[in-house]
Amino acid sequence: MMEKHYYTSLTRNMTLIVIVVSFTPLILIAGLIGYYFETSYREKVMQHLHELVEKHQQLINSFLDEKLSYIKVLADSYTYDELTDESFLQNKLVILQNAYSGVFVDLGVVNSAGVQISYAGSLKLLNADYSKAEWFREAIKRDYYLTDVFLGIRRTPHFIISVKKRRGDTEWLLRATIDFVAFNSLVEQIHIGETGSAFIVNSAGELQTRPATELAPNITSLLSRTSWARMGAAESAKPVASSIEEVKTSSSGSNAASGIIKSQNRNIIYILMPLKSGEWTLVYQQDQADAFSEINRARVIALAIFTFGCLAIVLVALFISQKVVGHIQKADLEKEMMNEQVIEAGKLASIGELAAGIAHEINNPVAIMVEEAGWMGDLLEEEELQESENVDEFRRSLKQISLQGVRCKEITHKLLSFARKTDPVHHQVQVNDTIEEILSICKERSKFSNIRVQTELDQYLPLISASPTELQQVFMNLINNAIDAIGSGGGLLEIRSRVDGDKVVVDIADTGYGISKNVMARIFDPFFTTKPVGKGTGLGLSICYGIIKKLGGNLTVDSSVGLGTTFHVNIPIHAETS
């Protein structure tokens, strides 16, 4: 029997192997694929955002360019004189306003001194002096100019487009005011996810549009990282308190900068793109968690599955290992028992052979002894010893020798029956007849012991296929045992035969001294006997058991000490080849 330790470690090893083999691919897949997927997804998301922002960048740029070109066309198409005609200008304004509602606020011509000499619009800005204005100073320097957004007289934000024209030695500007609201909505439209929004700043970091969500802290300091806004940003930027981590800089030709700001409790993605040839910057920001919400959700799900999966694997591994090892343990036990049985059987076989050898050998000396005794008896008949007193004693003694010789013969006979391997021939036998035969043989004995014999034999008992002599042996043995058990005090011996299903059943019941529990367990063992030395060999019941078993039947016994014993013989009617 293997120690408990062996099975425990076997269970443990099995569990570990299953776990390792199951976990490894799981972890590898989860890890590798998870990593690749996540990386790729992030890239895709960023790419997508880039494209979105780029699209809007282009939209905004084209809006601005478009408006600029209208003014350019206007300035190129008409002469100074025409444009300085107020009603003409007004007409042109109306056309523009009809075509693009809410965009053009007013039109004006400003001379090189900064005076607006022609004006079309709702405000009273004719002859306004812009010579001191920042925008004028810039505008007069360039062929065209777009200003930053600023609050005007009415405190509404707008910006100015101006186009410069030459007229002889002097220059004049044709300018238009663009309403902020319409423009702002373009940028406001950029709304992605929960927290994604965009706004425009100039190179000094001043807002040009109204952001929809709260600005990320210090996001404008990022301008210093862009190639187009570096200068302006450097002047006004505050030192960056939180860490800023650049993820990548796109190189799609439009020039962009993107990265992730890590602030206390949230990471923010930013994308910066130049507008208005770099004077403005389109800033897009979104919470990282928001942008990558899909993947975060996927990750959570995967983690949950992974955890439960691992838990399930561990539990199942443990359970199965224990079950399997339990089976192994049982099988090992059975194997050991069977080994023992095999050894026992081997021993019995050897004993059998030994016994057979002895039996054969004993026959010869016994035969001689018996014959010699007989010879002495023969001689005794002749001799004049007839008158001697001892003659009777001689005769009795010689008879005894013969008797004992016969007994030896019977003993070896039984021994050799037990050891025999060959199958005797089967005939169709009527069990009732066999029983009656034996009873008649034992009649003397039973009468002598005052035993009443009662039979209840089923007259329709079917024939069975068996060896007649073997059956005789069985019933002889059982009936003799019953007679011995009852003893000389008298009692009852009952024999019943009947059919039970597909079997012939014979019950042999006696009112003898019964069999105790510990004897009962060994009663069919060869060489086991409760009879005193010299009276029994202990082979009878084991032989009977063997014979009945060979026929495919069974031999069982019930007993109560002091009350009696019943042996049940059952033999199948249709013998299966066993």
């Binding site: 010869n364 016994v366 035969a367 001689i368 008949e381 050799l416």
Partner: protein, 136 residues
Amino acid sequence: MPPGDPINPEQDQSKVTKLLLVDDEEGYVSVLAKRLSKRNFQVKTALSGSEAIRILRNESFDLAVLDLKMEDMDGIEVLKIFKVMEPQMPVIILTGHGSETAAREGMEYGAFDYLVKPCDLSELVVRIRQACAKGV
């Protein structure tokens, strides 16, 4: 005295049955010969198959009693030879217990009858008389 086994000198003097006993167990065959002689048989003994065959070449017998299990020759072989040499001579074979197959084999090869050793002398005498009566 068991019946059928009279030590009876009143036998038919003209016909004394001649027996050949073949058995390699000397103790057995000698006492058996003595007892049979007492019962008015003329007995010759052989302690081996080859000795029996030698004797049979020179003499004839009314019956042979042959032990099947002998050391020098297989009893069945001896039986076959007997049947070739003296087909009319009945043979009674003696077998050890458990050798029913040998006994049956012997019967097939022409033995008159078989007895299991150790055998009852009166039984043997009865068989011998049966065999000789048949022969006559």
